[in-house]
């Protein structure tokens, strides 16, 4: 087992290096000149050139990448003495547009996104797996039809639409909730919770739709397995059979997919964050796209990649734990 974990971790690191190099190259190959973007429209060429030098864009690509990687571990200082800007480790670059170190930006937005992702994840697993299980056990009856209808609606609703409807219904018409204004968890837990309630539900409903279907189909498939029939033939009580035989088997693949979905969400919920005006990673990315803020784009892409690779590794290890058949001997 320890070897398995070590090997997976090793490959994860190699993969991240490749992804980072790839991201770096792609963004460098873009036609827009990063130095030209550092100042406004009426920029004098001397300023552009001096900025280019300060930010290191005049160096060869490999050297730039080296400096970038070094920055992650050792921090980085841009420019000459006196007018220099220092971003301490782990430095992911400097946003000229915002005049801030990218790491600082990400550090301030990540907790928001993590709050959104975590709550939505818990909710959608409960709704998705719960409704899916109910639908499978009550196959063909009204509960099944309701769950299926929910699933179809959830899958086909665009996030922004559901988000706007929620705001209309819960904020504007009934006034049940205040318009979400993000408050940190440590600042005021109650307000934190209230401000995130709507985005949680929006994300959860949309993601849960797929999980309802996956859970329902997974359970129905497992129920046809011969080992479940043997369980019935043993005389196992129905409840125990469902929990220890059916759910146990049906949830293994769902856990895998859920892990990846969660990681994906950690990379930023672009639409949801925008609708509810939450200062998360997604909103940061969106703004960076609009302003062609390359350092931020490179950084957010890499942060997302880290989450996905880490989640993949965790899921693989978890899978080995959940399913004895893939456990290494």
């Amino acid at each position: 087992m320890i070897f398995f974990v070590l090997r997976r971790s090793f490959f994860a690191i190699v993969l991240l290096l490749i992804v980072s190099a790839f991201t770096f190259v792609i963004f460098s190959a873009l036609p827009s000149d990063p130095a030209a973007l550092t100042c406004g429209k009426n920029c004098r060429p001397e300023v552009i050139e001096s900025n280019r030098e300060r930010l290191g864009y005049d160096r060869p690509l490999v050297e730039q990448y080296g400096a970038y990687m070094k920055g992650i571990f050792a921090g980085r200082t841009y420019g000459e003495e006196g007018s220099s800007i220092h971003c301490s480790a782990p430095s992911l670059g400097y946003s000229y547009d915002r005049h801030e170190c990218v790491t600082t930006l990400i550090a301030s937005t990540l907790p928001v996104t993590a709050s959104i992702a975590l709550g939505a994840f818990v909710l959608w697993m409960v709704i998705g797996v719960g409704l899916g299980t109910l639908a499978a056990l009550k196959r063909g009856r009204w509960q099944d039809r309701v769950a299926t209808a929910f699933s179809v609606i959830g899958v086909s609703l665009p996030t922004f639409f559901l988000g706007l409807i929620f705001i209309m219904v819960f904020v504007i018409w009934t006034g049940l909730l205040p318009f979400p204004r993000y408050t940190g968890l440590t600042e005021n837990p109650v307000e934190w919770f209230m401000s995130l309630l709507l985005p949680w539900f929006v994300l959860a409903i949309i993601s849960a739709a797929t999980y309802v279907r996956m859970t329902r189909n997974g359970i129905l498939e497992v129920m046809n397995e011969e080992f479940v029939r043997l369980g019935i033939a043993k005389g196992l009580p129905r409840r125990r059979l469902i929990v220890t035989y059916v759910l146990r088997a049906a949830l293994v693949p769902i856990v895998t997919i859920a892990g990846l979905d969660f990681a994906f969400l950690l990379g930023g919920a672009l639409v949801t964050e925008s609708i509810f005006n939450l200062p998360g990673l997604g909103k940061l990315t969106l703004a960076a796209v609009i302003n062609s803020d390359l350092p931020i784009l490179v950084a957010t892409t890499m942060v997302s990649a880290v989450f996905i690779v880490v989640a993949n590794t965790v899921v693989d290890i978890l899978y080995g734990y959940l399913d004895p058949r893939v456990r290494v001997k």
Binding site: F3, L6, R7, F10
Partner: protein, 330 residues
């Protein structure tokens, strides 16, 4: 046996990489699926290859049709080395050797009509025009006992036996010399098995076909084989004329295999002394040293663990009539 050799296997070996080292995903073990198999098949005759799961018989079948590449050794089809053929030559060689699978679904596209599926090899090889293909397919359907009127029906509208007839028709589409039949009746009901076996015999006589017939028990092949080979863990342990192999069995494994076949006649059941082997077939990744059967053999002695028995003429038989790989043959 006299006659002209149509297919020959020379020291065929197929190892599959398996397992992996702890830190790097490099294969460390070799699954020795087929390990040095040689035989020859005379034109118009049937060689039956019999063995239990994991003995390598299906891998051997796929090697013969060159659906997979051998690790070493060669297959000679009508004087041409199949294993050395370029991909261009291979296309032509494919006409001469065709495969019938256990599950006819494997070669019938569920979205194509049965007629289209049977004609697929003709379309791939472009041997006939569209109209010619259709006519040929109808002819083939009649030949295997399917109603040519059912050209446009889909595989699910046919029973298992009829689907296997279609699988045979498809294999015949290019008028091959040799057909490798991999357990063609194992998935069928008893009453249907007999129909398909009879059909294969009729076709052999009519078209002068040669068969390599792969089966997992000896009773199926008794009727159709002109020569029987018994495989165990990637090697032929006994090969010979069926009368000799069945009635004067020389290898202890073949004896066990024969005695294990349940007999439907209660009067016969007591006549046979049953040899029940203990344990399971060892892993082909790490086969026993010396004779591979020794771990389950009632006759095994010290010599069997150190010295691998060669496939040689069984005692008291004409040369080539009956070969066995055992230090203590009967």
């Amino acid at each position: 046996m006299s006659g002209e050799v149509v297919l020959e296997a020379r020291s065929l070996v197929k190892w599959f990489p398996t397992g992996s080292s702890k830190l790097l995903n490099r294969p460390t073990d070799m699954l020795q699926a087929v390990d040095g198999v040689s035989f020859s098949l005379d034109r118009g005759t049937t060689l039956a290859v019999v063995g239990e799961s994991g003995c390598g018989k299906s891998t051997l079948g796929r090697l013969l049709a060159r659906l997979i590449e051998p690790t070493s050794g060669s297959v000679i089809l009508d004087g041409t080395d199949v294993t050395a053929a370029s991909s261009k030559e291979l296309l032509a060689l494919r006409r001469d050797i065709q495969v019938v699978f256990q599950d006819p679904y494997a070669c019938l596209n569920p979205r194509h009509s049965i007629g289209q599926s049977i004609g697929t090899p003709i379309r791939i090889q472009k041997t006939l025009s569209r109209a010619g293909e259709k006519e040929r397919v109808r002819e083939l359907m009649g030949l295997v006992g399917l109603n040519p009127e059912h050209y446009n029906r889909f595989p699910h509208e046919f029973s298992g036996g009829q689907r296997q007839r279609a699988g045979i028709a498809r294999a015949l589409a290019l008028s091959p010399k040799v057909i490798v039949a991999d357990e063609p009746v194992s998935a069928l009901d008893v009453s249907i098995q007999a129909q398909i076996l009879n059909l294969m015999e009729d076709l052999q006589r009519q078209l002068g076909l040669s068969y390599v017939f792969i089966a997992h028990d000896l009773s199926v092949v008794r009727h159709i084989a002109d020569r029987v080979a018994v495989m165990y863990l990637g090697k032929i342990v006994e090969i010979g004329d069926p009368e000799s192999v069945y009635d004067t069995t020389a290898h202890p494994y073949s004896r066990a295999l024969l005695s294990a076949v349940p007999v439907a006649d209660p009067r016969n059941a007591s006549r046979r002394t049953r040899i029940v082997l203990t344990g399971d077939v060892p892993s082909p990744v790490d086969p026993p040293s010396g004779c591979r059967f020794r771990t389950r053999c009632p006759k095994a002695e010290a010599r069997c663990a150190t010295e691998e028995p060669l496939l040689v003429d069984a005692p008291g038989r004409r040369a080539g009539e009956h070969l066995v790989a055992c230090h203590f043959p009967d």
